[in-house]
């Protein structure tokens, strides 16, 4: 692909802290290489802001190779930008042309309060995981990985669900700010495997209870979550969770 440079206009959400009301600020950026990543472009802008003595734009990032789930920008009306099955860090500037305007917002949901600029607090996801996203195993030496035979289709489906990196794009995209794609991926990944069976029922009930407590909305099956998921988590998982949850709840003793 041919290399080119571009000048862009960025409109970035700036917010000093959680209690600040926040506003958009416009930044022209010049000579951006089409081979840069989107975050490198922000790095360039931040270097300039720092050299001018201004506060750089705060944004979440860690691995920058699309597997950690830290990056979280809502770019021109889509979580993680325009590319399909992609994280913000893996978005490259060849997606843009000279003269483009790019609007960058943080994830928006009551359950993901803004900490600063584009950084939101996603610890609600951690608490949902703590509520049931684990399995019980014996201590001591690790058991041979292949000691329990697992149907290949289930193993593949569990692996596909386990690919969820917990970035929160599903919540950001959902008109209801529902976290059901995330929760369903985490429940499915364990429910499909024999190792997940001991806590199968309490897991579905407890994780959904925690999800509701965190203030996420209810799913209405619009499919926006699936469309923006960088790991292509299928909404089939949501149907599985609906099933798991009702069976667990209806069959529980108390």
């Amino acid at each position: 692909m041919e290399h080119y440079n571009m000048n862009l206009t960025l409109k970035v959400w700036r917010q000093k802290n959680a209690s600040d009301s926040g506003r958009f600020e416009t930044y022209p950026v010049k000579n951006i290489s089409s081979e840069m990543s989107f975050l490198e472009m922000i790095d360039v802008l931040n270097e300039e802001l720092i050299s001018e003595g201004k506060d750089p734009i705060a944004f979440d990032h860690d691995c920058r190779e699309g597997i950690c789930g830290a990056c979280s920008m809502y770019i021109n009306g889509r979580p993680h930008g325009p590319w399909h099955a992609n994280t913000t860090c893996q978005l490259h500037m060849r997606a843009y042309q000279d003269g483009d305007t790019v609007v960058i917002e943080p994830w928006r949901a009551n359950s993901f309060p803004v900490i600063k600029d584009l950084v939101v607090d996603r610890s609600a996801f951690d608490r949902i995981i703590q509520a049931g996203g684990y399995i019980s195993i014996n201590t001591g030496n690790a058991v041979d990985a292949n000691a329990i035979a697992i149907n290949k289709d289930n193993a593949d489906a569990a692996f596909a669900a386990a690919a969820c990196i917990g970035c929160g794009a599903c919540v950001a995209a959902c008109k209801n700010s529902s976290a059901l794609l995330f929760v369903s991926a985490k429940v499915s990944h364990l429910a499909l495997l024999p190792q997940g069976n001991p806590e199968r029922k309490t897991r579905a009930m407890n994780m959904v209870a925690q999800m509701d407590k965190e203030g996420f909305g209810a799913c209405t099956n619009t499919g926006a979550c699936e469309a923006v998921c960088p790991k292509e988590i299928s909404i089939e998982n949501i149907a599985r969770l609906n099933r798991e949850y009702m069976m667990a709840g209806a069959a529980s003793d108390k």
Partner: protein
């Protein structure tokens, strides 16, 4: 987990929406089937007999209570979910996501449902309330094979002489069609029926059902207004 906790959780509420929705989907088939008798070309004899059967059979009158429970549960739960879900994002986006990833009608179930609720009030006022309670000058009596009954056909013909009524009914049927296209397949997903083998079947049957039912209902006032029956 108590039943009350189960059905007030976010997933439990969706189950209530899905189960009442599926129930109403089945009801619409019965309703459209009975009403389609107006096209029997017999001056409304078959339709009046069918309407009389529905109104005078004890089992159906008991089932009617269930129908109203289902409708009101669907309406109240739907409105509450809509308001709750809207409150989950106090600060919205400057650039909306729009159609990137979801269909407008999937995002507009609350709006489409509200149009349908307004229509129901009009619809009950036109037919159900006169037939059951207060009567109507155009709701005459007649006798078919020695059985005394309301001439609902006459009331229908009278009601659909007004153009605005016909337009209101057609708008409601268009809303119903979009509401069903999302609702049909969404209800199956909510009750956990979703896999590659069935999804295209559910999707296609849902779209076919939505169009046929809505078109059939829309053609009733149109047929009467244009004098086809």
């Amino acid at each position: 987990m108590k039943w009350s906790e189960l059905f007030t959780s976010s997933i439990g509420k969706k189950w209530v929406m899905a189960l009442t929705g599926l129930f109403l989907i089945i009801f619409l088939i019965v309703h459209a089937g009975i009403n389609a008798c107006i096209w029997a070309n017999d001056g409304g004899v078959m339709f009046n007999k069918a309407a009389h059967f529905m109104g005078s059979t004890v089992v159906i009158r008991i089932a009617e209570i269930g129908l109203f429970l289902g409708i009101f549960l669907h309406i109240i739960q739907g409105l509450m979910l809509e308001f709750q879900n809207r409150s989950k994002r106090k600060k919205g986006y400057a650039v909306p996501m729009g159609n990137k990833g979801s269909k407008w009608y999937s995002r507009s179930m609350g709006l489409l449902g509200t149009i349908l609720l307004l229509f129901f009030i009009l619809h009950w006022w036109h037919f159900w309330v006169p037939a059951r309670f207060i009567g109507h000058p155009e709701l005459t009596e007649l006798e078919i094979n020695g059985v005394h009954m309301h001439n609902m056909y006459n009331l229908m013909q009278y009601t659909f002489q007004e153009l605005w009524v016909v337009i209101a009914y057609v708008i409601a049927c268009i809303s119903l069609c979009w509401h069903l296209i999302h609702g049909f397949q969404s209800a199956f997903r909510t009750v956990g029926v979703s896999n590659a083998k069935y999804n295209s079947l559910i999707q296609n049957v849902g779209v076919g059902y939505s169009i046929i039912i809505s078109l059939a209902f829309a053609m009733m006032p149109v047929s009467m207004y244009l004098g086809w029956v």
